[in-house]
Subunit: 119 residues, 2 copies
DNA sequence: CGTATCTATTGACAACCATCGAATCAATCG
DNA sequence: CGATTGATTCGATGGTTGTCAATAGATACG
């Protein structure tokens, strides 16, 4: 998480030299960032963000058919968004008879929330 | 923020009726979601997320030329990412002489962080 | 002025994305 | 079984994105 960066000169330098020394960069943040960016990307659509919002407060209680009228999109488009969220590990679903109930996977948003959170 | 959803029947219904009654949907969340989704979208790239990470801890101290060697991308691509972050209102820049110094705008991440935050 | 350095923009291109309608799969009921 | 309803997948289509090379703009120095 800590990108320890040696802040470089920033004063005039004789031309011919590059701007700055190469700066050390902790590998650790790389895959962490990739994971969090994937979650953020999945939330980077208003409909998906609202979907997560609805699901967080009605976990396991809303079937897909109830979600459709909330947004002015077709059913297949909604299914597409749900798939994106599923692929990002944010939600999961459970089928019961005819209906499919989605829920936000516990802890799925924690890493991003913590990073984003009050510094 | 609260999507108050009347959880619908979910029991067998006589055929011919639609699955569920249309569900009331608070308008309030709509533009809120759009704003937050825009921020999330901007963070939805590993490089941009790392950029924000670096800038948060070295606000006003890192010039663009120092950021380039941190990632294996060209200078123009980095500039492109910075522009994206600027357009999303996440960062801003200040020029001093030859150099451009970027910083994370205070509070830019708060709304999303709060929504995402520990429920 | 001219030249070197740093940053931003432009143009191009492949990859990805959101969206829809239509087809398909799944499960319940008669 | 056959019909119906809900959910997912498929195919197509405009739009957006990430990337680079090349270029342009801006600032400092001589």
């Amino acid at each position: 998480m800590n990108v320890d960066l040696e802040t470089a000169p920033k004063t005039k330098r004789p031309p011919g030299e590059p701007c700055c020394e190469p700066v050390a960069y902790p590998e650790v943040a790389r895959e962490e960032a990739t994971r969090m960016a994937a979650v953020a990307k999945a939330l980077g659509d208003p409909i998906r963000l609202q979907l997560v919002d609805v699901l967080r407060e009605n976990a396991g209680k809303v079937c897909v058919c109830e979600l459709v009228p909330l947004f002015e999109i077709s059913q297949s488009t909604l299914s597409h968004h749900l798939r994106k969220l599923r692929e990002a590990g944010i939600v999961d679903s459970e089928r019961k008879g005819l209906w499919a109930f989605y829920y936000v996977r516990p802890g799925a948003l924690d890493e991003l929330a913590r990073w984003l959170g009050p510094a």
